[in-house]
């Protein structure tokens, strides 16, 4: 009997302790793990959000870079962290959905709980200014009529740009083009501006100066909708192709209590429309794009299905 009482008291004390600690969340700074080196696009977006976050999160957000292994080191770090909401992950369509299909990694997106989407990358297809085609349809037509002639650049094999281009090709009935993979968006753009390749697919912001100087022209945006920075360039779905939003979102370790995730989701939702946040993001050509836990989870599962298909079709799936 005594034992029962003791156990009962212990459970009671623990219960109070836990509920108190949840009520007080967050009581110390929250770390966002960015699984890439400091200074990249996502890193800048995260730091801008972190700058505007304290009044909405009730604590400061600290961006911590854990680079290595193409993002897998940082993701695994969060996966193994205490699920208390103080260590959260900045994940993307590439790192959390695409890589697990292609590489042996000890996680999938199912290891994590979604907090919410905070932005999407703007990706576009660009061509050298003096090519014989004027727009996307012209390009597709030319590629069909001249099999094997067009060389297209991307930021590497198995990157989302590569998959998008192959998806475009499949939808158009199989365009025969030669894929020239580069070690990133910048070298691919340089090679395009130098005329060594005719088209290149990749991030929009670094292409803008060359576009303004009329050295390269945008053909299409591969997102599901047009982007503000290039409002006159059509998006893929308008032309009958599948567009993809390459999202960036925050995740918590899988066992994080729902109340904590909810708190973080609400705080993120409140931070993004902050004037400081919008103004700073606009300068780097970005706009916040919040999608909450439930809606985002559905969208993520659709993306995952599409990626699994295209990766298998291209023979890039892990063995």
């Amino acid at each position: 009997m005594r034992k029962m009482i003791l156990v009962g008291m212990l459970v009671g004390v623990l219960g109070v302790f836990f509920s108190l600690s949840f009520a007080a969340f967050p009581e110390k700074p929250i770390q966002i793990i960015n699984p890439f080196a400091a200074g990249g696009e996502t890193d800048m977006i995260l730091r801008i959000i972190a700058n505007a976050a304290p009044p909405h999160f009730g604590q400061s957000l600290v961006v911590v870079n854990k680079p290595g292994g193409g993002g897998s080191i940082g993701i695994q770090y969060v996966d193994k962290s205490k699920p208390d909401g103080y260590t959260i992950l900045s994940g993307s369509l590439a790192t959390l959905l695409l890589h697990p299909h292609m590489e042996k990694v000890p996680y999938t997106y199912r290891n994590f709980k979604v907090i919410g989407q905070f932005g999407i990358s703007q990706i576009g297809l660009f061509s050298k200014a003096d090519t014989p085609w004027k727009d996307f349809q012209g390009f597709v037509k030319y590629a069909k009529e001249h099999p094997g002639e067009i060389k297209y650049g991307s930021a590497g094999a198995g990157t989302i740009g590569h998959l998008l281009m192959e998806s475009i090709s499949l939808t158009a009935g199989g365009l025969k083009m030669v894929h020239v993979p580069y070690a990133g968006t910048a070298p691919a753009l340089t090679s395009l501006a130098g005329g060594h390749i005719q088209v290149s697919i990749g991030d929009v912001p670094p292409a803008i100066p060359l576009m303004e100087a009329k050295q390269i022209t945008p053909l299409v945006i591969t997102n599901t909708q047009r982007v503000k920075t290039l409002a006159n360039v059509p998006a893929l779905p308008e032309l009958g192709f599948r567009g993809v939003d390459v999202w960036k979102a925050l995740f918590a370790p899988g066992d994080t209590p729902p109340a904590v995730v909810k708190h973080l989701e609400k705080a993120l939702d409140a931070t993004l429309p902050d004037q400081n946040c919008i103004a700073a993001l606009a300068k780097i050509g970005q706009e916040p794009d919040f999608i909450g836990t439930e809606k985002f989870t559905i969208k993520m599962m659709e993306d995952d299905k599409w990626l699994a298909e295209i990766v298998a079709k291209l023979g890039l799936a892990k063995k």
Binding site: G68, G69, G158, A193
Partner: protein
């Protein structure tokens, strides 16, 4: 003169008290970052970037650029004093700089490194100012075939990077190439030789390898010979280069500055390859190639000059095309964007204040760095008076902290220690580190450029000969190999 007018506008911006102060802070920070092995300018700039949110764009960029070229000044210090290259570009400085320090001539080596940096930095900025737009167009002509041929030329230089046996140099170069294959292959998207280690997916980190083979290897070798032995046997002679040093180095300084500048312009080329190639060039042109590696001042002046003017060259694609050629300039691009401007072909017309302000600040920064670095030499040299049994664990500690600071990952320390042990064994067996480092740096680009070229050329090898720049570079490589084979100009000590 248009340029002169612009420059006056630029200096008016750069000499504002606030900008002058920030330029000084950037240069100081850069020097410190350069001295610490491992902790490089990229990490320092990334950390400081959010702190510049409240500055004006010009001020922020002036400070961040100061860190970049300041780090190149500081990078030579640890190479000369304790044989630890803080970054790839200062590997070559180790070869002769450290030998000079062991002979008591650390002062002149450090002094020459500082002056070489100043002279080359200034020549580089002049080049940047006068030639930026045409050179940017030239850089665009470099497609994959041209890169391949350039890397091929770089690899033929391997024979000049070693002092002893040629065969051993080629073995090390081969090992470096093999190491460079580790990681995800961008052409097929498949991981190679990673044995399911996630840490190897981005390849073997070059900095931990450098610090291991050179720094840790040196400590192990010294410890084995006899702990307590004086490593720096000679009395310290003089703090500044003598007149003879100057006469020996003057042409090396100028050649280094020109070579470094042109290689710096090429995205992905950069300071490291410039310093390797310049060392080889100097050895090839020297009347006393046998002195290289034993502590000749020319072996410090040339590469130091090359890596600093390469820094100025690297600004050209950034400022005139908006394309970053390496990690540091990518970060600078981010800084530009955060401050609401984007460098590119139209920058000179749209924001002349910014463009010319940055250029003028680089003149100012080079002067600040020279004034800052010369008095420091006395202090650095005194470090060598610390008894080696006390100094060596401190060096090791700095190496470990530096390796950890790269990615915040213990893995990099393990890599450094592994290559430290390897470096020690290599030393005992008479294998040198430089050829391995060169091919490790070049390997990935070499292979990628080769396969990209073949894709672009529809599988035909003729693409390398059909394009004039590529053909010329290949012709030079062939010429070098033949002259080396027939004239036996390379000393064969073994």
């Amino acid at each position: 003169m248009d340029v002169l007018q612009h420059l006056i506008v630029g200096f008016r911006v750069a000499l504002e008290p606030m900008n002058l102060l920030l330029c000084f802070l950037g240069c100081l920070g850069g020097t410190l970052v350069g001295v610490l092995p491992g902790f490089g300018p990229t990490a320092a700039m990334a950390l400081l970037l959010p702190g510049t949110f409240h500055l004006s764009p010009v001020s922020a960029i002036i400070m961040l650029s100061g860190i970049y070229y300041g780090a190149m000044y500081g990078g030579s210090t640890t190479s000369i004093l304790v044989n630890i290259p803080g970054e790839t570009a200062s590997v070559m400085t180790c070869l002769d700089g450290y030998q000079m320090a062991r002979k008591g001539r650390a002062g002149p080596a450090l002094g020459m490194a500082a002056f070489a940096s100043f002279i080359a930095g200034t020549i580089g900025v002049i080049g940047l100012m006068l030639l930026a737009p045409p050179l940017a167009r030239f850089a665009l002509k470099f497609g994959p075939p041209e890169y391949f041929s350039l890397m091929l030329l770089g690899l033929t230089m391997v024979s000049y990077l070693s002092q002893g046996s040629m065969i051993k140099a080629f073995i090390m170069a081969g090992l470096g190439l093999l190491l460079s294959f580790i990681g995800t292959d961008i052409i097929s998207g498949v991981s190679r030789f990673t044995f399911d280690f996630m840490e190897l997916r981005e390849g073997v980190g070059i900095i931990p390898v450098l610090m291991g083979v050179f720094g840790v290897g040196e400590i192990l070798s010294n410890a084995e010979e006899e702990m307590g032995r004086e490593v720096f046997t000679q009395k310290i002679k003089g703090l500044l280069p003598s007149l003879k040093d100057w006469m020996d180095s003057k042409w090396a300084l100028i050649r280094g500055a020109l070579l470094g500048f042109f290689l710096g312009i090429l995205p992905g080329g950069g300071a490291a390859i410039a310093s390797f190639m310049d060392y080889a060039l100097e050895k090839r042109l020297s009347k006393h190639p046998e002195l290289f590696g034993t502590g000749t001042i020319v072996g410090v002046a040339g590469p130091e000059s090359a890596n600093n003017s390469a820094t100025a060259g690297a600004f050209i694609p950034l400022l005139t095309l908006g394309i970053p050629g390496n990690a540091v300039t990518a970060l600078l691009l981010g800084a530009f964007m955060i401050h609401g401007t984007q460098p590119g072909p139209l920058m000179m017309q749209r924001t002349p204040d910014l463009f010319w302000g940055i250029i003028a600040s680089m003149y100012v920064g080079n002067i600040i760095l020279l004034i800052l670095n010369l008095p420091l030499i006395g202090m650095w040299v005194r470090i060598l008076k610390i008894p080696y049994p006390i100094l060596s664990p401190l060096i090791l500690l700095f190496c470990i902290v530096g390796a950890y600071s790269l990615n915040g990952n213990l893995w990099d320390i393990a890599i450094m220690i592994f290559f430290g042990v390897l470096g020690h064994v290599m030393r005992k067996a008479g294998f040198e580190g430089a050829p391995m480092i060169l091919s490790l740096v070049i390997g990935q680009m070499f292979e990628n450029a080769f396969r990209q070229s073949l894709l672009i050329g529809d599988g035909s090898f003729l693409i390398f000969i059909r394009r004039p720049i590529s053909a010329a570079l290949i012709a030079i490589s062939v010429f070098l190999i033949f002259t080396a084979a027939f004239r036996r100009k390379i000393p064969q000590t073994n």
